[in-house]
Amino acid sequence: MNNLIATLTPKDFATDQEVRWCPGCGDYAILKTIQKLMPTLGRPKENQVFVSGIGCSSRFPYYMNTFGFHSIHGRAPTIATGVKLANPELDVWVVTGDGDGFSIGGNHMLHVLRRNVDMQILLFNNEIYGLTKGQYSPTSKQGSKSPSSPQGSLDNPLIPAVVALGAGASYVARSIDTEANHLSEVIRRGYSHKGAAFIEILQNCPIYNDGNFAQVKDKKAAGDFRVELEHGKPIIFGKEKNKGICLNTQDLQLEVVELGGDISQADLLVHNENNKTQAQMLSAMSGPDFPVAVGVIYREDKSGYVEDVQVQLEQIRSGGKASLKRLLHSGHTWTAG
């Protein structure tokens, strides 16, 4: 079996199904990245289970030659939890979108994260509803014009990574659909992480929200609009690597500063992915005043639900096989006739 695993290639993880996303959709890039990543994880493909809800991103499992379950809107975390509880040996992946994961399925997202169920949750965030033709989503910027908000949306958007941290997630990362290496790396680390790994992927919808992340993605401009976090390193960004993030200790706010003059690298905030307070501030950063943080924002080692269940079950079952007969005859019984 080990030999077999060693010889797996990305092609082994592709299905014979015609991929039906729109041309230019960011989902293609993510699919490719994951198909490439898979053989490097050193696990047999029959142990991989992809569970999704409803929406464009949720078609993902059909294109992975693993086990896959395309379920119902918003409920993928619940089904994935059931899969993992039934067989903790399996590697479980949830593929979801901003609508699926944080609108109709928001409740389940909170609970799968707080329980820390061991799985990878890939949130394709394109800030729009694609499959229903372009309505604003819970992550759409306020004022988004869409078929259901012709005068502009009034809802305040949520920031998925912020909510995930609030729910007690033990691994929170953010990446970008077309940044294959970066994306692959945060997913790989999420995969190695014990517990729920929440990975928000900024994903372009070329039809209903094209260019939404242009600044963050543009090879030339991105340097000013996004910051790549690295554990233990000062938080520096800018095309010229001349800007940084520091903490104003007076009012406990992050600030963008320019390096040079009285400000040196030593004044900058050093990314500590184990610091939750810092993670909350970094994950909330958004334009135009701040760059968007990508990378592993937060990571914490803590026990996961399924692992704890196994420990409990082992304890309960250590006395050997329970007897149904004994149960039926337990307590007060009497004989007639």
Binding site: P77, L328, H332, W334
Partner: protein
């Protein structure tokens, strides 16, 4: 048909030896009436009577003290002959306060006995129960045998030496009253003492005080001169079929049946649920039984519960979820997913009064049509309904069997009455149950997720972790041939027909409908389903003693219906269908068999009385006479 009651001509307390008796313990919801009832039930079962119980309590956990809506009661019907209902009328009413008296006295037979705690008949409590004068003094209870004792006073004296506070000491009142009732019917207190010791294992003083109160109540009755007509009654043992018995509630039977089902299917079970009255106790029961092949998961909501169950089934275990009406409504989308993906799933619905929150602690049978049709799309699924507490055991096994053999969601219906009611149950020999081991598919040669068994039409069950079985399923229509997504018009027709045929085909393998009591054809058939079994059975039995040609048919398989049912019903001149809803089974029967059945509806949150069914049967015979 209008609900009319014929009062049964029964005077149970006239003789020193009586055939059967109905006792009702009633008090504040914090008075421990359920505990008195449960212990009396245990003692009665051990004594050897047949019995049936009816715990009836408010939705509020601790309603305001002394209020009428806070009255909690426990009724037990026990006797020397077969007992299948909780009794039409009360012979002995234990009323711990004025509210308990006023809410229950209308159901007491003339000449019945009232045991009251006169210590609780204060002006304040009388006002709360809307009594203008004290019924213990104004002669309004003259038609009954009244035993008014200052129980509060006696209890305080009995438990004085255990050092409990005033409030805790008074909480032993229920045991004092129980001791007295145990004397009245010559019950043994040993089992109660044992369970008190167990319940208060860590609070020895509380256990001792409760036992002292129990014994004091008993001793009081034994030594004090009681009013005329109040003495020890002898209720001869029932002639139960030979075997070992225990008491069982529908909740226990359902939970244990699921455990048995998992063993017979040789499969692990994930029971995923969200607390809801009156279904919650199944979750409690199974959570304490995880040394069996079950794991439990308290999900964040009803939808998550069904989702986790479906996920477990996809992974090769059996997913089970349980709830009551409103929760089942929330699960509907998930159930349809299980049907579309053709995965096994057991859904247990402990029905309660609806719509919406309705009557959470009261019983009703109003989710039948939801179970049949309450899903989007053409989504047939098997629906089976348990008819007695003990039957919940057998049908839970059957639900597991149908789900795993046919790869389908299965709806198992019980109700609030069955869940909480207890009856003596002949313990089955589990070794004699036929096993139906699940075989997960594992042959990669030519494997496709759309492959199915020719006989059952069940799709293959290939679980993750098995090499060569990698496949995708989901809610989108799948190709009949390959299992891949298909929007092909002909394919959807084919798959819809297949889902229908699969469920209908189950009729070939379920038992034929039997007549429980009476002839296979004749004048009147009373057709029931679910918890109305007991009342219908007694009514039919009594009317048959009058020499009338009436039969009792009780349907446990509602979807699909037994294949001989239409023919069977056609053999009767009249078909009467009593239901605790406004007429749901009757619609199915009329639609299915074009039979002009007559319905009898009751939706008061209370089970049918025998007399109500008797009146309806008599009316059917009257109609038959008019037409002949």
């Amino acid at each position: 048909m209008n609900l009319v009651e014929e009062v049964l001509n029964e005077h149970h307390l006239e003789e020193k030896t009586v055939v059967d008796v109905v006792v009702r313990f009633a008090g504040d919801s914090g008075d421990g009436m359920q505990m008195s009832g449960a212990n009396f039930t245990q003692a009665t079962a051990l004594y050897g009577n047949d019995l049936s119980t009816f715990p009836d309590f408010p939705a509020e956990i601790r309603a305001p003290v002394g209020s009428t809506f806070g009255v909690s009661s426990f009724q037990i019907y026990f006797g020397a002959e077969d007992v299948t209902t909780c009794g039409d009328a009360i012979d002995v009413l234990v009323a711990m306060n004025p509210a308990a008296l006023t809410t229950n006295i209308h159901n007491l037979i003339d000449g019945g006995m009232i045991i009251v705690d006169s210590g609780s008949f204060s002006d304040k409590n009388l006002r709360k129960a809307k009594y203008e004068t004290n019924p213990l003094e104004d002669g309004s209870l003259d038609a009954y045998r009244v035993l008014d004792i200052d129980i509060s006073h006696h209890v305080l004296a009995a438990v004085e030496s255990y050092g409990l506070g005033h409030k805790d000491a008074l909480r032993c009142k229920n045991m004092w009253a129980l001791g007295l009732v145990m004397w009245l019917f010559d019950r043994d207190r040993t089992a109660t003492i044992e369970s008190l010791r167990k319940k208060f294992a860590k609070k020895t003083a509380v256990a001792d005080a409760n036992i002292a109160a129990l014994n004091a109540g008993h001793a009081y009755a034994e030594t004090v001169e009681l009013p005329a007509g109040i003495h020890v009654y002898k209720v001869p043992k029932a002639r139960l079929a030979a075997g070992e018995y225990r008491n069982i509630t529908g909740t226990e039977a359902l939970a244990w049946g699921l455990l048995a089902g998992a063993e017979l299917a040789d499969i692990d079970m994930l029971f995923a649920s969200y607390p809801i009255t009156p279904a919650t106790n199944v979750l409690h029961e199974l959570s304490g039984k995880r040394d069996f092949r079950v794991n439990t998961f308290q999900a964040e909501d009803e939808i998550a519960a069904v989702g986790a169950a479906i996920g477990a089934s996809f992974a090769g275990s059996l997913g089970v979820t349980s709830s009551s009406g409103p929760g089942i409504a929330l699960k509907a989308e998930g159930i349809a997913l299980a049907a579309a993906a053709e995965l096994p799933l057991v859904v247990a619905n402990t029905q309660r009064g609806g719509p919406s929150t309705g009557l959470p602690t009261k019983t009703e049978q109003s989710d039948l049509l939801m179970s049949m049709y309450g899903r989007h799309g053409d989504t047939p699924m098997p629906v089976i309904a348990a008819c007695t507490p003990g039957d919940c055991f057998e049908l839970a096994i059957e639900a597991v069997r149908l789900a795993t053999q046919y790869m389908t969601p299965v709806m198992l219906l019980t109700d609030g009455y069955l869940a909480n009611a207890a009856e003596p149950w002949k313990i089955p020999d589990v070794d004699k149950f036929e096993a139906f081991p699940v075989k997960h598919y594992d042959n990669p040669v030519g494997f496709m997720p759309s492959m199915r068994d020719e006989r059952t039409l069940a799709r293959v069950w290939a679980k993750p972790g098995t090499p060569g079985m990698e496949h995708r399923i989901g809610g989108i229509e799948r190709s009949h041939e390959t299992g891949n997504i298909s929007y092909d018009p002909d394919n959807h027709q084919k798959m819809t027909d297949l889902r229908k045929a699969k469920i209908e085909g189950i009729a070939k393998e379920i038992p034929l409908q039997e007549v429980i009591l009476g002839n296979e054809s004749g004048k009147v058939a009373v057709v029931g389903w679910g918890s109305t079994f007991g009342a219908i059975h007694q009514a039919v039995k009594r009317i048959r003693k009058e020499g009338l040609d009436v039969s009792h048919i009780h349907i446990r398989y509602i979807s699909p219906l037994p294949r001989n049912l239409g023919e069977l019903l056609a053999g009767f001149d009249k078909v009467l269908i009593p239901e605790m809803n406004t007429g749901q089974l009757i619609r199915l029967i009329r639609a299915e068999f074009l039979i002009d059945a007559e319905g009898l509806s009751k939706v008061s949150g209370q089970p049918f009385k025998i007399g109500e069914v008797i009146a309806a049967i008599h009316e059917e015979f009257a109609k038959l006479e008019q037409t002949s």
